[in-house]
Symmetry: C2
Subunit: 200 residues, 2 copies
Amino acid sequence: MNSPLEFYFDFSSPYGYLASEKIDAIAEKHGRKVRWRPILLGVVFKETGAVPLTKAPLKGEYSLHDFARSARYMGVPYQHPENFPIATQHAARAYYGLLDQQHAMARAFAHAAYRAFFVEGRDISSLDVVLDLAAAQGADRNALAEALGGQALKDRLKAECEAAMAKGVFGSPYIIADGEPFFGADRLPQLERWLETGGF
Amino acid sequence: MNSPLEFYFDFSSPYGYLASEKIDAIAEKHGRKVRWRPILLGVVFKETGAVPLTKAPLKGEYSLHDFARSARYMGVPYQHPENFPIATQHAARAYYGLLDQQHAMARAFAHAAYRAFFVEGRDISSLDVVLDLAAAQGADRNALAEALGGQALKDRLKAECEAAMAKGVFGSPYIIADGEPFFGADRLPQLERWLETGGF
């Protein structure tokens, strides 16, 4: 099969960022495309009762350590953001706004937003920063600002979050390949074997 | 350094079982010993507010799928137990009781208990099953039964759980190598690189 991988993530998710730096190359190696689907973990956690990793007793401290070590292990630059976690609805809506115009621009924006937050220390919860990042990818800043103020992109993101949960998505990153779910950047090796072997 | 790895686990933890089938070989390859330390996740979760994986909405269903797939990925036999999770205080106390007599017997018992639960479908929450497993490793069944009825092993397990939490242990498996913590069977590759390189 050559159906695209579905890659669900939140722009504030460290492990989502780590996966984002690897997923396209993994897919390409196996003749696959990737559908990037930003969601809001805040919306998902409201349903599941989960709490952000870094807020969990004992696990929180370990997680901060593990984000950085996992990044080194995977060879991905990482600088834990001073303000974390953040609200990512502007970034996610901007992604869907750009996606409807030009697929490649949306993908480039998503990479830029993740790197801005997890490498450059920029606050991507800010509407201005999101618009700057989109404009740097060639987007029409004013048109995007107007779209982000409208109802359509709000409804779109809400629908994407609901569709994700209906597929079982409970965290970030969550990747689906031919119906098989993989949760976590640490499941990329299993995803690779799955793509290589057609299931195991 | 050649200090032993500390391996914390609950006898009812699927990922703990998967790690138990690999940890000794990994350690041996790098000239290390392993200190096996069973704990009770129930005691830990009372402190941290965490819930068993399989009880978490959406994540629960995924976890059942992931236990089996991760076992196949790691080449470890796995049959999800009908009754799960279970209370493991008898198994954990028996381990410490045997440990004080003979280190190798305790290790063999731990392997046997994990395999009994996760391969053979035996109910290791049962005192009788625990005693049978210990006796099969050469333990004195009656002496162990008496020790399991006494206060000393109860206090010992309680102290081990408290000592583990004091070191930051919040789940199973949790491995500490020269002060560096690794949580999850999926962190064994990072542990291996750590042992190979002395840190990264």
